[in-house]
């Protein structure tokens, strides 16, 4: 092992957002983006993407398949701030407005090889019943202005989901 001095290493991530299970919703699309620390920088590939809109399959498992490619390479000197992939799923509500159906985040795996990750998705919820009704009616659900907050740990205690 080389002693002393910061050394640069590369992390290449490729894969796909394969599919989702959302029992209550249909016609969904997803957006992904990466959140990483200050010592990291993407050197190749795309940092964000929006998938197609997909409908549920007719069989028993009711999967929503995107098969959406992810390809990015990072350069870093420090494992702190290891990249996380943040996914946001959107779909139409009863009135046709585009509302958020779930946010989720997971760290990119550490070890080389093939990995499969299943991410639970959550939606922010308003704490007052009146606001829940008006948001259902107007189609304006509570939504994060920047989905990247899902990848951070601070400030979560004030957000019910």
């Amino acid at each position: 092992m080389a002693a002393g001095g910061p050394s640069v290493f590369l992390l290449m991530v490729n894969g796909q957002v394969e599919s989702a299970q959302f029992p209550e919703f249909d016609n969904l699309y997803c957006k992904y983006c990466f959140v990483y620390g200050q010592d990291w920088a993407p050197t190749a590939g795309l940092e964000e993407g929006i998938s197609q809109i997909t409908s549920k399959s007719r069989d028993a498992c009711q999967a929503l398949v995107w098969n959406f490619p992810i390809d990015i390479t990072f350069k870093s000197t420090n494992p702190f701030g290891w990249p996380q992939i943040v996914l946001s799923v959107y779909g139409p509500d009863v009135f046709g407005n585009d509302v958020v159906r779930g946010y989720g985040a997971v760290h990119v795996p550490f070890s080389p090889g093939r990995h499969k990750r299943t991410i639970p998705m959550f939606v922010p919820e308003s704490t007052s019943k009146l606001q829940k009704f008006t948001s259902w009616f107007m189609g304006r659900r509570p939504e994060y202005t920047d989905p990247k907050v899902v990848a951070q740990g601070e400030g979560r205690e004030d957000q019910p989901s």
Partner: protein, 175 residues
């Protein structure tokens, strides 16, 4: 100095009788350890499961420690609380687990317990809520005064923790 990176998530909790749960977590280390980057403690959001009984937090943990010795290896301690519709919080369980010591990704399931009081306090907890809590949080991860407690089991907290070790071979530790 040898370095340890703890990178992972508090995924969620199962097996609790209450439904809207949040978790306060912290990492305790010995005196030889120094936290270089990251936040040592935090609190997740409150999650109410819509499908199934697992409350998901997906709370990220990213810590970078430097150490001169193996004593005081990091321990993650957790307090799971439930919040009702009025905003009152009630303790659901305490738990702790050691951060793994081999590099790679690990799935951890941390069981939790909560203190039981006298039969009067248990009855009051069933009707009104509340219930005894620990005065000193370090009892969660230390065995010192545990013999005084009578506890009942809570649910399980699931974590996925990845570990990266650096420069341990300079100190003669094989990993």
């Amino acid at each position: 100095m040898a370095e340890v990176h703890v990178i992972g998530q508090i995924m969620g909790a199962t097996g609790f009788s209450e439904s809207s749960l949040f978790c306060k977590w912290g990492v305790h280390t010995g005196a030889a350890w120094k936290l270089l980057s990251g936040i040592r403690e935090g609190q997740t959001q409150v999650d109410t499961p819509q499908v199934g009984d697992m409350a998901y937090w997906s709370h990220p943990i990213d810590l970078h420690f430097a150490t001169k010795g193996l004593q005081g290896w990091p321990r993650l301690h957790l307090q799971v609380w439930s919040q009702d519709s009025f905003g009152r919080c009630q303790l659901a369980g305490y738990g702790f687990c050691y951060v793994p010591s081999s590099p790679g990704t690990h799935q951890l399931a941390c069981p939790t317990w909560r203190p039981l009081g006298s039969w009067r306090e248990q009855l009051a907890r069933a009707f009104v809520g509340g219930g005894p809590q620990l005065l000193h949080g370090d009892t969660i991860y230390s065995g010192a005064d545990r013999y005084r407690l009578h506890t009942a089991a809570g649910g399980t907290v699931h974590l996925e923790i990845g570990l990266l070790l650096r420069h341990f071979d300079r100190y003669g530790v094989e990993c």
